[in-house]
Structure formats: structure tokens, C-alpha cells
């Protein structure tokens, strides 16, 4: 019962941190547009928080480059468990058109584990909403920390990711 309540609360209250990880702004403004009256993502209990410590969902737009990958990693680690990551746009998924530019590392999953990928260039707000809904499904699956112990589950080691495909 208690766990069910917690899970329900989690799914109903995803606070998002939006990190522009070197996006061209296309995906970025579409993400921001989700907050605005036309799409009003707050319907789903979602609010945009400015700080990883308050966030449950990390929305990442843009290509990872050598400078911002450190920021991305740090933000991810500062988020309390359970958390999900949504990569948005061709850039966030793979690097998009810029994949072979010298300062581009690639998609978000080169640095942190990604739960949901939202394709598009830019991904339109509806797609982002779909992505969020999918992410909530993922969030539902993540273990209830009271049982699992919030110690270190889900923390990501880049080494693990380096070769494996998810």
C-alpha cells in the first residue's frame, strides 16, 4: 500500500531539470514551450526546477562536447535517486548532424545512462510529452528506495557504458 502510494506520487510529481548540453536552441525552446499554456506540462505535475538536487527527471538537449560532458556528469550525480534521463533531439541522441565535428563527443548516452530517447530535430513539444510519459513508466519501474536502500543504486559508472549498448 505504502509502496503503491509512493510510486503513484513519484509518477505524479516528476520535477525536471532541463540541461541545455550544447543544443542549437531548437530542441531547447521546444522543451521550454512545453511549459507554456499551449502544452502546459504542469498538467502532469511536472515543474521545471533549476537545480539537480530538486530534480527527478533530467531532460538533456544537444550534443555533448568535451566541456559540457563534465557538467552533464556532475549534474546527473547531484540528482537524488530515483531519477530518469531523457535525451532530446538528434543531437542528444547521437550528435545529429554534428556527430563528426571535432568538439562533439556524441549523444548523451556517451556520458550518462539514458532512459528515453526522443528523436526529432527539433523534437516537437508533443514528442517531448510522449517522451516524458515514457520516462514516467521507467520511473514507475525503478525500485522504491525505502526497500532498496538509496545508497548507490543507479549511480552510473562511465566505464560500464563505454562498450555496452543498452
Amino acid at each position: 500500500m505504502f509502496d503503491a502510494l509512493v510510486t503513484r506520487a513519484r509518477v505524479k510529481s516528476p520535477w525536471v531539470l532541463h540541461f541545455d548540453c550544447g543544443s542549437c536552441n531548437g530542441c531547447d525552446i521546444e522543451t521550454l514551450a512545453c511549459l507554456t499554456p499551449m502544452y502546459d506540462i504542469e498538467r502532469f505535475g511536472m515543474i521545471n526546477v533549476g537545480n539537480p538536487k530538486h530534480a527527478d527527471v533530467l531532460l538533456v538537449t544537444g550534443t555533448v562536447n568535451h566541456r559540457n560532458k563534465k557538467v552533464l556528469q556532475a549534474l546527473y550525480e547531484e540528482m537524488p535517486d530515483p531519477k530518469v534521463v531523457i535525451a532530446i533531439g538528434a543531437c542528444g541522441l547521437s550528435g545529429g548532424v554534428f556527430r563528426d565535428a571535432y568538439n562533439v563527443v556524441g549523444g548523451v548516452d556517451r556520458v550518462i545512462p539514458v532512459d528515453v530517447y526522443v528523436p526529432g530535430c527539433p523534437a516537437r513539444p508533443e514528442a517531448i510529452i510522449d517522451g516524458v510519459v515514457a520516462a514516467l513508466g521507467k520511473l514507475r519501474q525503478k525500485a522504491v528506495p525505502t526497500a532498496a536502500g538509496a545508497g548507490g543504486n543507479g549511480r552510473f559508472h562511465p566505464r560500464m557504458k563505454a562498450t555496452g549498448s543498452s
Binding site: 509512493v6 506520487a9 505524479k12 510529481s13 498538467r43 537545480n51 528506495p145
Partner: protein, 281 residues
């Protein structure tokens, strides 16, 4: 027995009312912005979720301070329900305010530091005003006890209209609404990230949220005292006041604390003083 019952009522009803109010707040705000908005019980989801999150902190002091903040808020609500001394209640809530600031100062984070400094300036702004409101109540009823307000035959609003306005300033500051949401804002888009709350997360943020609900109830309770003679009058006053808060929140930019110090102190003091003066003469 009565004390125990009232205490219990304060303990249980206040957070329910506070949470619900926060929900209504968000819904109405959304409507004012032509949005659909979250469900009314959204704040409860938020709170439960926060309590179920991983415990993350920078140092243990923060946690202590969050706790004391909550304790103080709860206790002041209990005092309110028990119709205690207004000044005492004021001091007890000040414990919370001070601990919130100290918690933010205990971490080496510039955002929470600047937030703490601003919070102090907010305290500096609203504390004297609140105190003068209480003095006004004393001047009318002859006592600082809430019970004597309830015994007063006429609504206080008729005698203290300007001080009620002053109280709404304090309310706006305490509710962290525009134009006074400097030290921490409900909206993410603020230069201080989340100001005093930046470093709180998960259950600890939950503590602070909960305390905030109690505080909201407390300060609205104070507003309610201004029409304590009838329940409908009270409800109308509170409803109108809160709606006005939302309207102001949605029709004003955030100002700066320098402006607040200048503006609220002068206007607030002039209003308060005028009202006190005519009571005195």
C-alpha cells in the same frame, strides 16, 4: 483536554489546509495564465515523493535547521490554535525563520548564501510590520492574546484597515510571491536558482515544504483574526485576500530587495503608523 484537542487540530488540519491551498494556488495561477494546471492535490504528491527520495545533503547542520524550522512552524500553529499570545507566536515563528537562514548559511554554496542574506532582509522587512500589526491589535483589544481578539465584538478590520494592508505585505513576503520572491521563488527562473532552498533536496526539502504549509496557515490565520466575528466573513476575507495575492503575483515583475526595503518600510510604516495614530488619538 481542550488544549490537547486544539493542538491536535493544529497539527493535522494545518498541513492539510496548507497543502490544499498550495494546490489551489497552483491551479488558479495556471488558470490566470490560461493553462490547465496540475491537479489540486498535486502538492501532496510532491511532498510524498520528496519524502521517498534519496537523502542528499551537504552537511548535517542543514538537516538540523530544516527540522527546527518545521518544529517552529508547527509549534506556532499550535500556539495559534490554542489562542496564545501573539507576540509569543511571533517569536516562535521567528525561530523558524532564523533557522532557515542558518541552514542556508551553513553550506559553502553562493546561491544559498545570497538567498540567506536576502531572506534576512525579508525578515528585516516584515518583522517590524508584523509587530506593529500586533501592537494595533493590542491597542484595539487591550491584549496580545488571540483569545481577546475572539472576544472582541467588532471585526478588527473596521478599526485596523491600514494595518490589514500592512499584514498583506507581510503575507506576500512570507508566501514568497512576486514582487517579493527574492530569497527563493516558486519559479525556477530566478537568478538564485532556489536561493535558501538550493541545497535542500529530497526529504529535507520535504521538511521545508511542510513547514511552509504550516506557515501559510499561520499567517492566513492571522488574516482571519481581522474578521473573527463571523465565519462567512472570515472566509470571504481570506478568499479575497488570497485571490488578491495570486493576482498580484501574476501581474507584477519581481522587484529587488533594495526596492523592497525602501518601499515596504516607508509605505508599510506610514500605513501602520497612521492607523496606530488614529487609534491613539
Amino acid at each position: 483536554m481542550k488544549i490537547a484537542l486544539l493542538t491536535l487540530a493544529g497539527l493535522v488540519l494545518a498541513p492539510l489546509a496548507g497543502g490544499l491551498l498550495a494546490g489551489v494556488d497552483r491551479k488558479v495561477t495556471a488558470w490566470l495564465q490560461s493553462r490547465k494546471g496540475p491537479p489540486i492535490i498535486q502538492p501532496f504528491y510532491d511532498l510524498i515523493k520528496l519524502f521517498a527520495k534519496e537523502k542528499l545533503a551537504v552537511n548535517p547542520w542543514q538537516v538540523l535547521c530544516a527540522w527546527v524550522y518545521l518544529m517552529a512552524a508547527v509549534f506556532s500553529v499550535v500556539l495559534f490554535f490554542n489562542q496564545a499570545d501573539l507576540l509569543l507566536l511571533f517569536f516562535v515563528q521567528a525561530v523558524g525563520a532564523v533557522f532557515l537562514v542558518m541552514g542556508a548559511l551553513s553550506v559553502p554554496s553562493p546561491y544559498s548564501q545570497v538567498g540567506a542574506q536576502r531572506e534576512l532582509l525579508q525578515v528585516l522587512t516584515y518583522e517590524p510590520l508584523l509587530m506593529l500589526v500586533f501592537v494595533g491589535i493590542y491597542q484595539v483589544t487591550g491584549s496580545f492574546r488571540i483569545s481577546s481578539v475572539l472576544d472582541h465584538p467588532r471585526p478588527l478590520l473596521l478599526e485596523l484597515p491600514l494595518l490589514y494592508l500592512v499584514l498583506t505585505y507581510a503575507l506576500t513576503i512570507k508566501l514568497r510571491k512576486s514582487p517579493f520572491d527574492f530569497s527563493t521563488s516558486h519559479h525556477a527562473h530566478q537568478e538564485l536558482v532556489r536561493g535558501v532552498l538550493t541545497e535542500y533536496s529530497g526529504p529535507f526539502l520535504g521538511l521545508v515544504e511542510l513547514a511552509h504549509w504550516y506557515e501559510t496557515v499561520l499567517i492566513l490565520g492571522l488574516c482571519a483574526l481581522f474578521w473573527a466575528t463571523s465565519v462567512p466573513g472570515m472566509a470571504i476575507l481570506l478568499g479575497a485576500t488570497y485571490f488578491l495575492e495570486l493576482l498580484v503575483d501574476n501581474t507584477m515583475a519581481r522587484m529587488t530587495w533594495r526596492w523592497m526595503l525602501r518601499y515596504v518600510w516607508t509605505v508599510g510604516l506610514v500605513l501602520a503608523f497612521t492607523n496606530l495614530l488614529w487609534l491613539h488619538l
